[in-house]
Amino acid sequence: MNVRRHPFAAGLSLLVLLFLWLPLIVVAVNSFNQQTIMAGWGGFTTHWYSLALHDQNVRTGLETTLYIAIASALLSLAIAVSGALWWRHASPRARAAYDGLIYARIILPEVVSATALFFLFLKIHFTLGLTAIVIGHTVWNSAYAAIIVQARMAGLDPALEEAAADLGATPWRAFRRVTFAALLPAIIAAGLLAFTFSFDDVVTSVFLQGASNTPLPVVILGMIRFRITPEINAVGLLVMLFTVTLMSFAVLAYATAGSLGRSGRRGNMLDIYRGR
């Protein structure tokens, strides 16, 4: 590790890492703590984990959040990819407007966009609930996804797809084998980012929940409003383990797709020519 050349930066970075991991360590340690009031160590127990795993509220919350996150991620990807494809051949002015809307969606404080949607739905008598939450999440999720997909798209040479067409591929085939394949790592990354944001969202979910089942972060918020117990820490850690597993798949997929891209691109072009 390149430490000697930048001792100050290295020292600060170590502190930063500690700072970032400290709460996680506290959560992990306390989830095994027998002591309920935060007053030190009371003995090791897995009681809170069994409580969390059997808690019906937590289970329903998990199912609900999974549904919302997957739906929102898929929707966001559809919007992001189609938008990026449009962006390729768009005029600079149109592009500027498109980019501006992406940033606007990301930067606007969530409490504002959630309230705005809340009012709209109330006005048009659209029932608040899971669909409303999915829409609410997709508003900003699609922006994050668009940034990632677009960044990758910007690095692609449009000549590749044209060359494929010259070699006899239909537009659809050219798209699928060249552009889409090259975009795949970004699509996976964007989809997982959108999923993670949705999974952990509180503000939009609170505003647009209506009478639907409660998403997991809101369940946790409710548990805290009632009383803070280590069960919450257990839930937090379980959520983390779940996300880590998911993300590991993402990284693997990204690395695999990426490496295929590096070594296999030319081969694919010839395949197109051969009509495969």
Partner: protein
């Protein structure tokens, strides 16, 4: 300790019910007609002829966990084809509760006196047909009068909890004592982060009604709180008194049921019902206007008011209770706890929150914002 087999209806109630069922064929309301015709599932022949109008799922908006462990399951068993779906909304505030009434996505809600009062003023509730909820007679009169819109379920007084060993052995018996000690033990007192509870208690300290809408009174309340605010540790609405257990907090304005629970963790914590009196919230279940499930709601509320069911509710939530007939079935730690038992002496010093009217509510919320922004 709890009896779980269904209590057989006493002869008087059963006779009343049967008579109602007979008259029901003629005078049945449109709502229950819809419920009866549109119902799917088992034909409800169990439990008497009234249950055939009691079908469908009523949606309840409630605090998380604020229900007896077996209430909902037992109700579904007793009335096949009827059930309650409980949605736990993490936040509760008047604006949100009123919105919940408006949204028509729930059939009935847990709401306190000010919420229900406002909803009633806005014409958003359905008055219950008390003949269908005869068990409401189990609720003490004082509570029934203070909460006429639905079935009152519980109440909570706001008093003082403190650790005498952390305040130099001082004894607190009044809000005056508390206000004097706050600056002496700076950074060790917690107030409740809710408008009615915090300002209401301060009203008591100053000798006003906790339902005053007099602007001069409220100005004095604002000054009293902002005066000690620099010495407060925090305004909290969760685990308000938790710091008392490990000593990070010395004094707290806290709810009775919370203190009762904390005393189990550390006996050094003392509860005070201040001399000047206390304000209390009173809440219950109220039906939303034009709900199609009114029959189910009334059946459920009647069911909940049966002593064993209500005892289950109280034992699970640990709240101060208001139905004396349930006392034998309630855990001794609650029914014999002087903090929670509604004796006449205690009730005499308790003032329930009322709906303050549009102007009053605005005045209070402006004052509260000024306090929090200071």
């Amino acid at each position: 300790m709890k009896t779980r087999e269904p209590l057989s209806l006493d002869p008087l109630t059963r006779a009343t019910l049967l008579r109602r069922a007979g008259a029901g064929a003629l005078g049945v309301s449109a709502a229950s007609l819809l419920a009866a015709c549109g119902s799917s599932g088992s034909s409800g022949s169990a439990g008497g002829s009234t249950s055939e109008a009691i079908k469908g799922q009523a949606i309840l908006a409630n605090y998380p966990g604020w229900m007896g462990k077996h209430n909902l399951a037992d109700f579904a068993k007793k009335y096949p084809g009827a059930s309650i779906k409980m949605i736990s909304n993490a936040t509760s505030s008047t604006a949100e509760v009123v919105l919940q009434f408006k949204s028509k996505q729930y059939d009935f809600l847990l709401s306190d006196t000010s919420d229900a009062g406002q909803a009633s003023a806005a014409n958003l509730i359905t008055e219950l047909d008390w003949s269908k909820v005869p068990n409401v007679k189990n609720v003490s009169e004082k509570f029934r009068k203070a909460y006429p819109w639905g079935l009152p379920t519980d109440y909570g007084k706001v008093g003082i909890a403190y650790r005498p060993d952390l305040v130099g052995g001082a004894t607190i018996t009044s809000w005056h004592d508390l206000w004097e000690l706050i600056p002496k033990y700076s950074g060790q007192t917690v107030f409740i982060d809710l408008e009615r509870d915090c300002m209401g208690s301060t009203c008591k300290y100053l000798g006003f009604s906790s339902n005053t809408t007099n602007p001069d009174d409220l100005k004095k309340v604002q000054d009293a709180i902002t005066g000690v605010k620099p010495h407060l540790k925090a305004f909290l609405n969760t685990d308000v008194g938790a710091g008392l257990v490990n000593g990070s907090t010395a004094m707290a304005m806290d709810w009775d049921y919370d203190v009762a629970l904390l005393q189990q963790k550390n006996e050094k914590i003392k509860w005070v019902l201040p001399d000047e009196g206390v304000h209390a919230y009173l809440e219950g279940f109220t039906a939303v206007k034009d709900t199609s499930k009114i029959a189910v709601i009334q059946a459920f509320l009647n069911f909940l008011a049966e002593p064993p069911q209500y005892a289950d509710f109280v034992n699970t939530t640990g709240t101060a209770y208001l139905m004396p007939p349930s006392t034998p079935l309630i855990l001794k730690s609650i029914s014999q706890n002087p903090i929670l038992v509604p004796t006449d002496a205690v009730l005499a010093k308790t003032e329930f929150d009322k709906y303050l009217g549009a102007d009053g509510a605005t005045l209070w919320s402006n004052t509260w914002t000024a306090i929090k922004a200071a």
